[in-house]
């Protein structure tokens, strides 16, 4: 999808703490409409915390988070979902005792348009035919890959303007990882802006337009995805290449 330059999401000097520990120390970033932006970095760099801050699950102590130009810091998560941000969280966090279909319906919790929700269920089943086969199976009994698909489908059910994906490739077999990233591209081409957190930097930079490299809670580097891929430092530290 082509990007048209208006920033959909803007973080300005965001600081978030867990208790007294400062997990992110002044992050600024931008996601423009239509982009796939990736946050890469090692464990503990603050990637997930950034997503949780955007979603309102952890409230930043300082800084502004602008969505469509409006500051959303301090809004509870359900309002942020309604504004158009939804998330496939780290570790997937499905409702294990609900069926696949019920999980998807939970994703549409804020929506009242039944027919639209029904359409979107079909759309998700179109993206992930595996889920359609397992629609009445308990989510807790799905395989890792299926769970990831279910989590992404559930997030899509909110019909978000901005989709936050937290480590969609975690714990998956390489062939599935490729499939997941294909789907990320497909979702984006259907018109959803994506902010993608990944440890698998190689794959992430493949699908992304731009990237941010996080190190210990700050943005160490940012550039176009192609430029980052050929950056010496990134190649050494995150791509395992020389």
């Amino acid at each position: 999808m082509s990007t048209n330059g208006t920033p959909l999401l803007e973080l300005e000097d965001v600081h978030t703490y867990y208790g007294t520990i400062e997990a992110i120390k002044g992050i600024s970033l931008q996601v423009r409409e239509g982009e796939v932006v990736t946050l890469i970095g090692a464990n503990g760099a603050g990637k997930s915390t950034t997503l949780r801050s955007i979603q309102g699950i952890n409230r930043p102590k300082r800084g502004r988070i602008l969505f469509n130009g409006k500051d959303i810091v301090g809004h509870p998560p359900h309002e942020i979902v309604r504004l158009g941000i939804s998330q496939s969280p780290e570790g997937r966090r499905l409702f294990p005792r609900m069926t696949v279909l019920e999980n998807l319906e939970m994703g549409a919790f804020q929506r009242r348009d039944r027919s639209g929700v029904h359409q979107d269920v079909e759309r998700v089943f179109g993206l992930f035919p595996r889920l359609a086969e397992r629609r009445s199976q308990k989510a807790g009994t799905l395989s890792g890959g299926e769970q990831q698909m279910c989590a992404m489908g559930r997030a899509l059910m909110a019909r978000p303007k901005l989709l936050l994906l937290d480590e969609p490739s975690m714990g998956l077999a390489p062939v599935l990882v490729e499939r997941i990233f294909e789907i990320v591209t497909e979702i984006n081409s259907q018109g959803t802006t994506i902010l993608l957190v990944e440890q698998n930097a190689l794959m992430a930079l493949d699908v992304a337009t731009r990237g941010y490299v996080l190190e210990t809670g700050v943005v160490a580097l940012t550039d176009d995805a192609t430029a980052l891929r050929s950056n010496e430092r990134v190649r050494k530290a995150y791509l395992g290449l020389t």
Partner: protein, 405 residues
Amino acid sequence: MMERLGLGDAWSRVPARVRRGLLPLVVFLLLIFYPSYYGDITSAIGSSSTEAQLVPTVPTMVIMTVYVIMALGLNVVVGYAGLLDLGYVAFYAAGAYVAGWFATQQFSPHNVHILSVGVPSSIQGFHFNVWLLLIVACLFAAVFGIIIGLPTLRLRGDYLAIVTLGFGEMVPQAVNNGDNWFGHNITNGPNGLTPIDALGFGALHNEVSFFPSAYYNVTNAVSYYYWTGIALVVFTLFCCIRIRDSRLGRAWIAIREDEIAAAAMGVPLMRTKTWAYAIGAFFGGGAGCFYAIYKSSTFPGDFSLNISITVLAMVILGGMGNVWGVCMGGAVLSYLNYQGLEAVGNNVNNLAGTSFNVPQYTYGIFGFIIVLMMLLRPEGLIPGRRRRVELELGVEGGSLYDASA
């Protein structure tokens, strides 16, 4: 053989809705007519025999309906939303005192009668229509639930349990000292509020003679209280089932399974939990009000911690989240509590020639039953569908899926 096959065939052609509704309907009819065949059962056994003591009397049945309503209400909080509440008795007390305030002479010389039935207008104090009062008690308790809920529901799990425990202890204390709240006698302290106006249908009696103008006018008043209790149970059941299958019910289950994920899906946590509290309290208040009217009095001593624990045991024993199981748990435990244990004890003493004073050991025996149940059938008498899956999977949502950053 052929004939049985044919019957089974016919049975399977009956719509599933009817088949599922049949058992509750039969049970309902059996319950409705209980007062009329109670005497036949006991006389068949031998009215004066110790065995006959095992048959629940109609007054016991009234108390069972009260506890079933409470268990169903607490089930909304504990079973549906997964919020551990150890102070449920507070709502029961709230309902009972609404009856105490608006259907006694407590606030004489004020003299306010609103559609009251069976109360001469010369009697002073607030006298509201008792049916109206049931609704007011439910609403008052629900508001009370919201007031308690707002500050406490931010807490999770164990912390919430402790805070509710505190509230459950505070309410009877406050009521006990309520004969002097800033110089006003509100609750009449340890002396309680009595007599509370009886239920009754007033002028409707002239149209349909089955409905007594006031329950004290009929000799089988206790049967009327029992039928009223059954009607309240049916209403509560209906509400519980409807709410469970609603959007709100789904949100409760989501919160129970994974609070953070529920929030990220757009479930407003505080509002949803507060609704669970309010609706749970609503039925607790109704039960309290009905019970106070039934025994025509309310005392601070009626609202001990024991009640919170017993009702929680009913929910767990019956099968958390399953309304039929919870009904069963409530009925069985309240029966044992008020009649069954003593009757069983008398029978044992009779047979074995011993002389145990069984009521003295009530809580010990209760504890034993609960330990036994949890070992043999941890999912409860009739487990909820989801709860059963959970036990089979052997997972606690958090541990498998939790990946807190």
